[in-house]
């Protein structure tokens, strides 16, 4: 089975995130880059499926030079090879442009399964996987808390408002996972050493056959008009319970008409 797993480098979750005044894009240099947490689960799922069924795992990312670190991390977890789409004209790409670039890069490479995280911690849109499915005409099996491949059928449990839905399709298919799906491994020392020798294809947009007019900030289908830091919330009142803590909350609730 040939599996692709799409990972994104994002600013460290704990880092303060800011938009740049110059072009209203995320200031990615201000913080350490890490693999989007949910994408670690996507990598793990790909590795487990490949280990169980035999297969090859290709990690795919679109991002600046330093996103190569994130490809390396996936390789050190055990992925076999990588594709890194990097080009100055990709800067500022929105979800539509990202999904276009990823779809074109994935196309025609014979992947049986493409696995995504269900959300990136910086964009938090949760739309890229659905958009890629739409563009490639692949069955969309997203928000999976469980993934099973038997023969050429893939079955997932899609997390729903009420519980979960069982969704099935034939391969090739596209899956996105939530964090309940598995427990990602840490790269071992051996894995880290092995990763240095694994092949990574670095593609410019020309290499990938992409149309520059559909990419980057200038092509964005939406634009930021303005942004501002929300004034910090006024510090609330914190009291230490002296046997009347519950009653004090009740007072607060009646003052504010909740009861």
């Amino acid at each position: 089975m040939k599996i692709a797993v799409c990972v994104k480098q994002v600013p460290d979750t704990w880092a303060e995130k800011t938009l740049q005044a110059s072009d209203s894009t995320l200031d990615r240099d201000a913080a350490d880059g890490v693999m989007n947490e949910l994408d670690e689960y996507a990598v793990e799922e790909a590795l487990q499926l490949a280990e169980a069924q035999g297969g090859e795992v290709t990690v795919v990312t679109m991002g600046p030079e330093r996103a190569a670190e994130t490809v390396r991390k996936a390789l050190s977890m055990g992925a076999d090879n990588g594709i890194h789409l990097v080009d100055a004209s990709l800067h500022g790409s929105d979800a539509l442009a990202t999904s276009y670039a990823l779809a074109e890069t994935l196309k025609g490479r014979g992947f049986d399964l493409v696995i995504f995280g269900s959300e990136s911690t910086d964009a938090r849109m949760s739309v890229v996987p659905a958009m890629v499915a739409e563009r490639l005409g692949l069955p969309q099996l997203t928000f999976a808390q469980k993934v099973e491949v038997v023969g050429d059928r893939v079955t997932i449990q899609r997390v729903s408002e009420a519980g979960y839905d069982t969704v099935e399709a034939s391969l090739p298919a596209l899956v996105s996972v939530v964090e309940k799906v598995n427990e990602p491994r840490y790269p071992s020392f051996k894995g880290i050493m092995a990763a240095k020798k694994k092949p990574v294809e670095t593609l410019s947009i020309a290499d990938a056959g992409l149309d520059a007019a559909k990419l980057g900030l200038s092509a964005a289908w939406s634009s930021v008009e303005d942004f501002a830091a929300r004034p910090p919330k006024a510090a609330g009142t914190v009291v230490t319970d002296a046997g009347d803590g519950g009653a004090k909350i009740a007072d607060y609730l009646s003052e504010h008409k909740f009861i």
Partner: protein
């Protein structure tokens, strides 16, 4: 005035509260039309849509639409966008809503904005990003603006509409039929309001100590007619079902009132509740980061504090 399409969120043949919020918003932008996709359109649904001002209800009622996730909704919407040329399409910021919006954007070559908390009459959307630390105004610059709106962002206001039913039939593409829903598993939800939509949420975390501890959280929730939420520590430990997890990888909630009990306030938890209007915290550790968000907080043992609070609410209700 142009038409604004609102994709209806349904539950058990009825219309969810978030749809009444979206219709209220749609009326401030143009003529509100509702779009119902799937079988089971009922008189009750029609009545709610009429009450909140839907002039037209497009009903794509073929049972087949419910057999495949997301794609049919995008295809129905795409056909309506082509035929009616609406000025905007509004969906709820749920997994299905956002994914339908994403696919619709690709199909119609339109821009999409997710997680708006307000939209002005000139279609500028307000988003609250980075866990609420930054407010962004943005605008779709190509195609038909497609905007997903967070539940609980707009107060629903009734205003009668005709809710005239127009049946639509869309032939699903082969691609849309490739993924099939073969089962639905509904976890018991009891009589409590839906977590994503509730105006009050009472949550418990690791501090609750075990599954029995959630009895205390549920009792408080019931005294306030609230929904129950949980941190990942609590759902991972199996103390409370996963679908009640609040946070980055659980539900995003934005209620009028959020009461966090025995939750430390990890960034992934905050991501799902930080935009709550009023936040109350009970935690025995005065250093817990969740206190930074508190409008009112009590440093103390949740078992005594929450118990007393529930009792007080009971007394004062009479």
């Amino acid at each position: 005035m142009g038409e604004v399409l609102v994709l209806v969120e349904q539950s058990d043949g009825g219309v969810k509260k978030v749809t009444t919020e979206l219709l209220t918003l749609a009326r401030s932008l143009g003529e509100a039309s509702a779009v119902w996709v799937g079988p089971g359109y009922s008189d009750a649904a029609a009545a709610t849509l009429a009450e909140f001002g839907a002039g037209t209800v497009y009903v794509a009622g073929d049972a087949a639409y419910a057999d495949h996730p997301v794609a049919p909704k995008a295809e129905v919407l795409a056909q309506l966008v082509a035929e009616k040329a609406p000025i905007a399409v509004l969906v709820a910021s749920t997994a299905d809503g956002k994914e339908s919006a994403g696919r619709l954007a690709v199909k119609t070559n339109s821009g999409v904005i997710t997680d708006a908390v307000a939209v002005s009459p000139d279609l500028i959307a307000t988003q609250s990003v980075f866990g609420g630390s930054t407010v962004v105004h943005s605008k779709v610059t190509a195609g038909t603006p497609i905007i997903s709106v967070r539940p609980n962002s707009i107060a629903p206001v009734a205003a009668p509409g005709a809710a005239a039913r127009v049946d639509v039939a869309v032939d699903l593409s082969d691609a849309a039929k490739k993924a099939t829903v073969t089962g639905r598993t509904v976890a018991a939800k009891g009589g409590r309001p839906d977590l994503a939509e509730a105006s009050i949420v009472v949550s418990g975390g690791r501090g609750v100590g075990g599954p029995e501890g959630f009895g205390v959280i549920e009792a408080l929730a019931d005294s306030l007619k609230a929904a129950v939420g949980a941190s990942r520590a609590a759902t991972d430990a199996g103390w409370y079902p996963h679908q009640f997890q609040v946070g980055q990888t659980g539900k995003t909630v934005s209620p009028q009132l959020y009461i966090a009990n025995g939750i430390s306030g990890a960034i992934q938890h905050r991501a799902g509740m930080q935009t709550s209007k009023t936040i109350i915290v009970v935690n025995k550790d005065p250093e817990a980061p969740i206190f930074e968000l508190a409008d009112f907080g009590v440093v103390g043992d949740l078992f005594t504090v929450v118990f007393q609070l529930t009792e007080e609410i009971g007394k004062r209700a009479h």
